[in-house]
Symmetry: C2
Subunit: 423 residues, 2 copies
Amino acid sequence: MKDLGAAPHLIVIGGGFGGLWCTRALERAPLRITLVDRANHHLFQPLLYQVATAGLSAGDIAAPLRHILRAQRNVTVRLGEVTGIDTAARTVKLADGTTLGYDLLLVASGVTHAYFGHDEWAAHAPGLKTLDDAMTLRRRILLAFEAAENTNDATEREAWLTFAIVGAGPTGVELAGTLAEIAHHTLAGEFRHIDPSHARVRLVEAGPRVLASFPPALSDKAAAQLRRIGVDVLVGQPVQSIDAEGYVRGGQRVAARTVLWAAGVAASPLGTLLGVPQDRAGRVQLQPDLSVPGHPEVFVAGDLAALMQANGRPVPGTAPAAKQMGAHVARVIAARLMGRGEELPFVYRDWGNLATIGRMAAVVELRGLHLSGLLAWWFWLAAHVFFLIGFRNRFTVLINWAWAYWTYQRHARVVFGRGDGAP
Amino acid sequence: MKDLGAAPHLIVIGGGFGGLWCTRALERAPLRITLVDRANHHLFQPLLYQVATAGLSAGDIAAPLRHILRAQRNVTVRLGEVTGIDTAARTVKLADGTTLGYDLLLVASGVTHAYFGHDEWAAHAPGLKTLDDAMTLRRRILLAFEAAENTNDATEREAWLTFAIVGAGPTGVELAGTLAEIAHHTLAGEFRHIDPSHARVRLVEAGPRVLASFPPALSDKAAAQLRRIGVDVLVGQPVQSIDAEGYVRGGQRVAARTVLWAAGVAASPLGTLLGVPQDRAGRVQLQPDLSVPGHPEVFVAGDLAALMQANGRPVPGTAPAAKQMGAHVARVIAARLMGRGEELPFVYRDWGNLATIGRMAAVVELRGLHLSGLLAWWFWLAAHVFFLIGFRNRFTVLINWAWAYWTYQRHARVVFGRGDGAP
């Protein structure tokens, strides 16, 4: 490879699907690329709920960014937190005081949870975006059963055995289904004072149906499958408040010591630093080529992007969409480096939509084809294992799942980590 | 099984090798057993250094106590922290205020790290006893290379690339060997501004040789193997002080941002609550049957026990010794329940001593037989995989190791968890 000392400098913020796919697609481009992330790893977020529910270990779904990109000589991986972007000076500022200049910038910092203006709920209803979040959820779920076992007070026991998941999108449905499986199967026979299968799993949704991004018929099937495995599916009313004791909905208080948040997301605060129009959730509105209005050298990809498809529906905040955007930004940059000035509008290719519901059940929407139940589950499994980064991880994940399938066991039922107010 | 409502109540404090082996050996005894532990899992401590060095995940070496004992109907597993023991009233007090009465008591709460009166070193030189400790070490080791990559100051870079391990017992030797492997092989080619193989790994020991519990000839072989893989073996002088910048030894200051503690242990503070003679490290001195002087209904097993062998050497603080003590206490209790009053003195069976040094090297002392190098390493591997609890774990651990062997990769190179003052 020729000397890149004088090559243009591309900074990619975020090593998720958007940032990583853009970086990898520019492997042969005459660029210096710096990939900045707060974490040392790329995370396969679609399986994060499995870490939260003790089915997989952190290392099964995360790989060091540095290792993934070790052979791509035009990339420098930089562990760091971005605290400022100056689009006039073309610089990015990091928390340790470093300032990095760029010629091209991709902001792919994703989303975080949002509590609809009720930030005080965060302490009582943790969300699920990072490995730390997953460990917090795992600790709270497993320790709730321990607390129920240890108390002599029947009311308190019931509150510890009531789990509420707020939000019935794919993450909420996955968590609810897995929690029901844990209560009814995984923990069977392990306690002496409680019967874990008496636990209630309440999936609470403000909208009229679960999995609102799917066709109504599949939503109905998903709800029926959830009810069959013991989940209380409660749609049509929002949660009004959440505290340490439970939640209020429809004016009624429900005692639930474990409330998990799978409802709202807000764009990464870095979107605001760009000084361009954002939608209500803070997502950045973009030109058709994914550049920022007024700044053709700045791009946004992944969940942080607010984009509409030709059919009037928004491009979803999913891994495939983020990968497509990342790859598209790479194409636009490569074309510009070649001196080609044509417009390259992003077109989202919708390969389908899938969500799993628990043991051996899922729903799949695939270019008009609707699947549910066992067949959909096999499809879901194949797709997720196929897309996991790195051979070793895929293999271990498959073994863990095969084991879990035959034994109902979950191999990562280990609580560690300190201090989030759990019992 | 007959009704155990009126059966004597045995409380076992600690679900490590001593407590768990005693509990399992009493499977058919007419007892009510309560096993109390602060953690929800049994930990295979001999492989904890592999979690600390990112070779294994927490779930690979830990299994829920509740799951291990689910079919043993005379056992109740209780998550809780013991804060008091009243040997006169025969009660145990837990942190949540609960008081449990016992007829028989086994204290098997093990050891923790000790800093020889320098508790202020703890913040700068973390030790390795729990999964939380292992995660702290992993984070500090991996982030030290990141900090070295990010700094422009040559002196600071060198300090980040200097790793000191204090104490050259088995844990210190294992950590040093694995760290050298990480620096020279695992991270090769992944950084752009530093060469990880320039890292220095300093194994610092106050005594005259490494692995003091082995015969001198094997210590020499271990030291030679360590030097061959790039470890600086420094014996014969104690560390005089440790702070955030490094350590002082022999009057000389060494800049090392990562100092790991593998030197001293102190018995669990629960030993003191028994009100009987203890040795300097706080271990409890026992009757030949492992009961506490003056309290034949109270036993101690595992690292907390201070015991001498017939040959005048102390019983070592190892997993096999703890298992033997646990099983012995079970025999004594079973004999008493049968009304047999004879003395049952504990006799330690020394099956040998083994320690691994890094990639494909180990030392083994086995009833007069001395092995070192590759053969010893295979022996070490077989023994450790064989003794791991649970088939699945063994299988996954083997796969991880096979993978690590062929690729030099470590699959759990994932940093998470918050706040221990690491960069």
